[in-house]
Amino acid sequence: MLFSLALLWTAASGLFGMDIARALKLNPGWDAPGSGSAIAAERLRDELGRDAAPVVVLFQPTPHGPQRVDDLAYRLAVDAALKPLYANPDVESVHTWYTTGNAALRSHDGRLTYAVVQLKKGPDEGVAAYRTLRSSLVSRELDIGLGGELAVYVDVREQLDHDLRLAESVSFVLLAVLLLWVFRSAVAAMLPLIVGGVTIVSSIAWLKLASLGTEINVYAPNVVSMLGLGLAVDYSLFMVSRFREELARGLPKDLALHITLRTAGRTILFSAVTVAASLFCLFLLPQRFFHNMGLAGGISVATAMMTTLLLLPALLALLGDRVNRWVPPFLGRERDTSETGRWFRFSHFVMRHARVVLAVSIAILLILALPVQNMKVGPADSRSLPPTAESRQVQETLAQHFANSEIAPVMVVARTRTRLTAADSLAGLYTLSTAIAALPTVTHVSGLTSLDPALTLADYRMLFGNPEAFPQAAAALDEFGRDRSTVLFVYFTGDPNDAAARELVARIRALPLSPGLEAVHVGGYAAFHLDYLDTLRTHVPIVLAAIVGVIFVLLFLMLGSLLVPLKVVLTNLLSLSATFGALVWIIQDGNLASWLGFTAQGALDGTILVLIFASAFGLSIDYEVFLLSRVKEMCDATKGDSLKSVSTGMQQSGPIITNAALLIGVVLGAFAMGEVVFIKAIGLGLLLSVIVDATLVRMLLVPATLRLLGRLNWWAPKPLLQVYQRLNLGEIEFDSRRKA
């Protein structure tokens, strides 16, 4: 019955979620609500009607075409290529070297030029318009490339789709092979794959449902796939292993399933709550992007858990002993399942040399964490794309051949106290624009009171006081102003991604508000990044504290100890530091870049760090929880014999944790193969975190500290212990042998 329902559910979910791409927003939601850049963007859109995305159309000579931008043939070729755009209703404007005389649009050597096309964003952020634009631009005489923020977004989206499909295919194949090796039964190996598949399909459906109530960005399905598949496979592994273990003890199918659910099921439930709680802490950040990631992560974790706890038991009940069938002959050898196997012996070794092992393992983690000292947090740019991506190539050509980019000016939105052309308003605007023009790196300012450097405030008063006599005044008002709002475009030297651009934004914001102005908001690309990084700086400590606090409380509720949760949190922080150190060494500094297929980023995107922290902190707990629950169980059984409880716990959990780490590692590794550095870094970061946790932390740090702390491990103040006992949320180990 449950199985049939699951089939129906999966089919319905598949149908419902298959067009999720239409429901997602290209805008990732990185704007910090209430920040200067967000307010500026709102005012530009709502008050000034500016909601267009700039696209760079770069023209380069071909061997057989015109070579000089100033040749008539070159201009004719540019005009012919751009001709379809002029009647395109999605195009707000087209500016070229030829139509503006703006020297910034002509390369140093006079061989390249670019047009800036403003595309209406619309509900899909301009993606459809961009694709139409891309397909309509053709030239025989010139090479055409598209760049700019929207082009990068579309390229990232298309690359992510490709990477996602590839990662899912590779994951499933590798998982199938690994699961067969782990379980030594094709039937058992199929179960985690079925659970993984159903988890992805269901999660996507839940995500689409959520998109009906809130805006969800296009990155969410990648998170759902990566976490959902990895966790579903891990959870299934715990469950199937435990079920087979109980069957091997000669228990009947129903009892084996009952015990499996009471033990492994409870651990899975706890693990899922832990990971989800960690991810939900992302809601403490103000940006929608993090809410989306928290939601997507929460959905995938919850769905993986529900599928494992509802569908998998139904499948196991149907299969019973047949779960062990279809054993490939080349994998028939039984594994070491004795209570004093190699994990038991290894943990004995670790505990005999606990102090040394502890010191060495901490030293290794600290060495791995050393590069964190040089960590630079900055915005992601087109280098996040593979070198073959068109938008990246265009960006690099612009940086190499042009004086300064005209596509990412700082945009200053000013609102005047009275009408724009009133004397006080013009005085305020004039003071503001001249003050901005005097700032370092500013090349020129374009706005109502910046039409000509030779004009004085008195001239502007006369100009705008007689618009009927001066067409320039009417044109400027039409171009830059509406009601009491106006925009000033500030052009500057250097890369909009650089700290210098953010410094310029800060300087503009620090300018005193002129009497005629009611408010000034600074927006644009550099301002957005400044606000984004500021938000991270102020909110991330709160998020980290919340994650650590939540995990600490959950661990206490499960283990009834104060010291163990504290130790877990500290080792996790240490392990994450090592992960971040490795990420700095790899992603930021570019070590292994050619091997992993990316370009050194020079900085780490703050978003990546937050996402890795939230996901890895929860995931890392998994293995420790699994190990500690076994240790605690043995500790209770042996009345506090730490040596035996740890060794037996290690022996019982060792193979499963290793396999789980291997399996989730395969999934994360497949995502790390992706070509977009954003997802590659997340996949790689989580993979490194899993490796560190499954090896250094689980094999060395945990047993060594448990040994050294001895009985103190399970200590808690009496009142807290009473709370723990009253809630009774700890793992209940079913003594199957006694029952049998």
Partner: protein
């Protein structure tokens, strides 16, 4: 005079002659702004296609019916205006006085396909008003004219129409903002049309007067240029001068 209007009128000033069809293609600039220019003349009709800040527009003049159609291809809208009414509006409230024109050959020539284009020094002036001030509007610079090339016969009817008293060639925005200049440029067309076909021009526009507005206008440079790079007398389809049926019409 708006920048755009000035640039295109410069082209039409230089686009005269006889009886069938003519196509002119080139570029015009007004200050830092530049646009492709395409002008088609057929019988008593003239169509100009241009772009302004990335949007495509067409102006279709029908001098026989005294009608002007302004097409915005981006919004697919068309405005219809009566040229006679525009001419009346341009004459209201502007100082009386006629165009003072001086055209002197400089002896310099250049080729445009089989045309020989001769440079002329142009000096044109007309009384105007800036706010409440009386002023004079001047156009000075070089215009390039091909005298009596074979294609001139193609616009014979158009040139006849341009000689009539009610001939008026301006768009409503120009009439509203700078009525005197709109009148001036219509007069310029009338004067120059019979002389030949245009190849290009580089003109400076300035105001002269004793008031502060004129002084300010004098300090704001306005340079208008035209570069023609091709022409054709191939027959044109009459539909080229029709208002597209799918467009929303506003009268």
């Amino acid at each position: 005079m708006t920048f755009r209007t000035g640039a295109w009128l410069l082209l039409t000033v230089l686009a005269p002659a006889s009886h069938a069809d003519l196509t002119l293609t080139g570029y015009s600039t007004a200050g830092p702004l530049s646009t492709q220019e395409r002008i088609w003349i057929r019988e008593g009709q003239l169509r100009r296609d241009f772009t302004d800040r990335g949007r495509a527009y067409s102006h279709i003049f029908d001098f026989t019916r005294q009608q002007l159609a302004l097409l915005d291809h981006g919004t697919r809208r068309v405005e219809l205006h009566n040229l006679k009414t525009l001419q009346t509006e341009a004459g209201t409230g502007t100082p009386s006085g006629s165009l003072q024109l001086k055209l002197t050959p400089t002896g310099t020539t250049r080729a445009l396909r089989h045309w020989t284009c001769e440079a002329h020094q142009l000096t044109a002036s007309m009384p105007t008003r800036l706010g409440n001030e009386d002023a004079t509007f001047h156009l000075t610079g070089t215009v390039w004219i091909a005298h009596q090339p074979p294609e001139q016969a193609a616009v014979k009817k158009w040139i006849q129409l341009s000689q009539k008293k009610d001939f008026f060639l301006a768009v409503p925005a120009a009439v509203k903002a700078t009525p005197a200049q709109a009148r001036m440029l219509s007069d310029l067309v009338r004067e120059l049309a019979p002389r030949g076909l245009p190849c290009g021009g580089e003109l400076d526009a300035r105001h002269e007067g004793t008031g502060p507005l004129a002084a300010l206008a004098g300090r704001i440079p306005a340079r208008l240029t035209l570069t023609l790079h091709d022409f054709s007398d191939a027959p044109l389809s009459p539909e080229l001068f029709d208002v597209p049926s799918a467009y929303t019409v506003r009268r």
